[in-house]
Each structure stands twice: as C-alpha cells, then as structure tokens.
Symmetry: C2
Subunit: 310 residues, 2 copies
C-alpha cells in the first residue's frame, strides 16, 4: 500500500489524539440503519486498527434517532470494550445519563449549541434552557467518576442564523466549562469555517481561560476545508481531532455534500508530518472499505478512494 512520506514540521507536536466519531456521529446521519452486530464489529475493528478514543453511541430516545436506538444492546454486545474513559457515549439529558450509568459507561458527552436556532431544532430548548438541562447531567456524571466532553455545535456558521459571533461561542464554551466539562469539542457543523476563523476562535477562548489543551476540534468537509482547518488548529496547540472513518455521516443540512472529516485523510496528513496517533492506516482503510460495503455506498474518504483505485 502507498504510504505518505514522513517530513516533520518544526513546532508541531509529537503526538495527538484522534477522537473517532464514526459509530455515533457518522451512523446517526446515515439513512440506512445498521444492525447492532455490524456496529459492534465496526467498533472492534476501529479499536484494533489503533483508534484509542471511539465514541460508541448515543442514549437518545429511539424516536429521535432510530439509527442509534440499540444503544443498550450495542454496549452489551461490546462488553468491556464499550466502557472506559476512551469510550464516550453521548447523553442528551438525565434520563440518558441514567441509561448510560446503568450500563457501566464512564465517559459521556453532552451536545450543546452555540446558536439559539439549532438549540431549539436539536434539543427543543433555548441555549439557556439546554445549559440548565446539562448542569445536573455533568455534575452527576462527574460525581460518579465519569469523564465529560461538551460538544459545541455551530461554532462558525449556522444554516439559519448565518455567521455566528465569536463572543457568543466563547460564552457557551465558558458556561460548559463552568459546569465542569473535562473537554470541549468545537464543531463546524455545516463545514463553512476557514483557518483564520478557527485561529481567532482558539485565541479568544485562550483569552477567556480555555486553552487549546482543553478543546478538540470537529470539522466537517462540506466545503473541502476540514483538513486545512485541522492543520491550522494543530499549529495553534490543539491536540484532539474529531474524525469519522470513511467520512461517514453526510451533512444533514446540505444534500449530497460530505460530512465529517474522514479519519483516513487526517491520518495521511499526521503520518506525513510524523505525528504519532496510534492508528494503522492499512487496517483502517480495510475497515472503512468493509463498512462502506455494509452501507452499500462508496467511502467519502479521498485516501480510501485513491488506495482502492491504485
């Protein structure tokens, strides 16, 4: 298999964490519901390929997201593999937290929004109301010894509100940190961001006491910008990068557009820069190709397409 040539760049880190969101964010946005045993095999193969952090599923009501309605069954099938600090489960509210804790989950994520419109569309609540709802979720999770991530969606642009003021993003981020989150994930949910915008947000967060070591970045490749934005964030001290194997997920707000940054494309860049991440690209591409067959559609990852055709 072709592999990138290694040429490190001064000022870059030795090691980063890839936070794999394919099984949750990816499959949640795929139209085809995937059998539980296929999800379990997918997750086990991702871990075997070297992905250290894999978000497993979401404890949302089945009627909201039928694709992830099998969360308990999936965790049961995964057994100990589905647990631990590096196996977060998304929880929307206290009921979701209860379900997660009953299964032995020890890392959770809550899903906030930087904009009012998306908070209402996604959570049926204002931003204030959603933060009020997350308060006891985060506190109880921390009290139970769990690790907590706070997603902040629509950090750059919003399909209904347009450009999102950076002050507004910083405010939501600060309030999630005040609740006790261990890590934030800054989401460009519609994929419109460019590097200057990313750096400005990181700088403003740093000014507000939230350093680049406390955030991950979550870029969508809808406009082809995800990897450039990732590279910009890497140079500014961010060490956690969300990505989805095979680019699974699509973008629910732009038909026929691509969604999450493909993990393989990120791995190619990191390998070329000589930055450690633990993932074996060959094994990941095999897994991605297998998963694309399960979904009956080609992978959106350019690396996967290139290696499949070479």
């Amino acid at each position: 298999m072709t592999l990138p040539m290694v040429e490190p760049q001064a000022g870059m880190p030795d090691e980063v964490t890839i936070y794999e969101v394919g099984p949750r964010d990816g499959l949640q946005n795929e139209s085809l519901a995937v059998p539980t045993e296929v999800k379990a095999e997918f997750i086990n193969r991702l871990i075997a390929a070297g992905l250290q952090t894999v978000e497993i599923t979401s404890m949302v009501p089945q009627k909201w997201v039928p694709q992830l309605g099998d969360a308990e069954d999936l965790l049961a099938q995964l057994g100990l593999t589905g647990l631990g600090r590096q196996r977060p489960v998304l929880v929307p509210n206290e009921r979701g937290l209860d379900r997660a804790l009953e299964q032995g989950v020890s890392a959770i994520a809550v899903f906030g929004s930087a904009t009012e419109t998306f908070a209402r569309k996604n959570l049926n609540r204002s931003v204030d109301e959603s933060l009020d709802m997350f308060g006891p979720v985060v506190r109880r999770a921390l009290d139970g010894g769990a690790w907590v991530r706070g997603y902040v969606s629509m950090c750059f642009g919003d399909p209904w509100e347009g450009p999102v003021p950076i002050d507004q993003v910083v405010d939501v981020c600060s309030r999630l940190m005040d609740l006790g989150c261990d890590q934030l994930s800054l989401g460009d949910t519609i994929g419109v961001a460019t590097p200057g915008h990313v750096l400005r947000l990181l700088d403003r967060l740093d000014d507000a006491g939230i350093g680049p070591d406390q955030v991950g970045v979550h870029f969508h490749d809808t406009y082809g910008q995800a990897l450039s934005n990732t590279y910009a964030a890497l140079g500014r001290g961010v060490r956690v990068f969300d990505a989805s194997t095979g680019g699974l997920g699509g973008c629910p707000y732009a038909k026929s557009a691509t969604g999450n940054l493909a993990t393989e494309d990120l791995v190619w860049m990191l390998d070329g820069l000589g930055i450690r991440h633990g993932v074996d690209l060959s094994a990941l591409v095999e897994t991605s190709t297998w998963m694309a067959q399960q979904l009956g559609k080609p992978s959106a990852s350019r690396v996967v397409k290139a290696l499949a055709g070479s």
Copy 2:
C-alpha cells in the same frame, strides 16, 4: 448563495494569483473530448468569473493528447482572449513553440519532471535530455518576448520511484531557472505530499536561491491533502496557486481518485481569509456546474457539491 465568513489571519498576503489549469491540465485528463466551441465558452466564462491567469491549451501532437488536438482552432476562436501574458500555452518542444508563436501566443509553459521514470514516460527522454530539449525552447521564447513557466512534476512522490529526494527536485528546479524560466510550478502529480514536505522543499529551494515569489504550487487532491498543502505554502510566502475549476482532471495514476485541487475549494478558503484573488465564486460555480453538464459527470469540487445541494 452561502459564502464563507471573512476572518483574516496575521502574516497572510493581501492578494494572490490563481493559475487556472482546468482547460489544459483538466481537459487533457478527461476521457471525453470536448468540442472546441465548448472549450472556448469555458475559457471565456472562467475569465468573466475573474480568473486572471488561465492556461489555454497545449501544443502537443494530436496523437499524444487527442483531447487537446484542436489547439490552433481554439486559439483562433478565442482571438485576442487567448493571447497575452496571462494566457499561457503548454509547449513540449521547439515544434510546439513554433506553432504557439505562429498563433501570437506570448506566454508558454514547458513540462519537466523531477524523476527519470516520469520524464521517460511523459517525454520519452531522460531528465538531462528533456532539459536539453527545453533549452532552446525557453531561450527562443524569451528572445521573442514571451513569459515562460517551468512545470516540475513528481516533486514529492512518483508512482514508479516512490519518495523523490528533495535534492533531486532542487536540482531540476535550479536547472529550469538557469534556462531562464520566469516561474516554476512545483507539482505533486500523484497527490501524496503533506505540509511538512511542502515547507521543506520551499526552504531548500530558498537556500538554493529560488524564493517563494518565484514558484507556484500545483497540488492534487488524490489523498485529500491539496488545500492543506496550499495553506502551508501560503503561510511560507508562495503567491501563485494552480487549481482546476470543478477539480477537472482526475488523476491518471489512480483510478477513481480525484485530481487537481478544485478552484472553488481554494476560492472558499481565500475568501474566508480575506485574501484577494479577483474571482467571483458564484459565477465560478455556475461555470463549473455548466461544464460538468457538458462532461456528463458531477463536479469533484466539494464547494460545488455543497452549493448544488443546499
């Protein structure tokens, strides 16, 4: 139409040149031959959209590249539009130069290779022999008052030779500059480069007396790395960026993989960074969508896909 939000980044230039290669490099690698009048309309629309530099065609023998066998007819149809310093025409040898000069062309490009294998496959000559062949082409073009660009293909990896030593690339670049080229274009013909590699080559060229103001970069998106590499080069002082509207071109060395960086995806990033380039993205996307219809295949540009679906 959705447009990127503008957030400039410190240390970036105010203005860059997009060197549009779609009509030549793009169409040369498309399997469908495009009628001359469609090519002329494509070029006229690209120029109307604000692209200042458009490589028009190639004066190669028709039996080598049948897609571009209508070079004289195309230039005749374009009239004055096809001429001038910002309308380069590729010429492979002195015979091609004669044909170009007969048509009134005043900017040419020669197409060199950093590797022996590709020089033999593309030009049926060794690297030394191809530079010997370019010598009189460049000299006669300069003597006639023309502007000359020297392409250097396979600057990073080569499908037959693997990683390409940077010394070897610098040597070919230096020899092309010694011949008198006004500008080089550093090509990642198979799309394998990553940002550290790009920066290292730029640094080594600078050490050899070829500054970032004397080179353009030509990245392929085969492995999804083109825009990150472009962004890295932008931060290191490069001001000329090759791109192909709609990502036209494919990659002849990797089936089903994408080829040239899509001009629209580059424009999105530059617009977001507040860097002037003269192109109206809406007009470009309209042109790209029209051209995709002519070719009967969807655009490879993520921006075009996203805007078509939004």
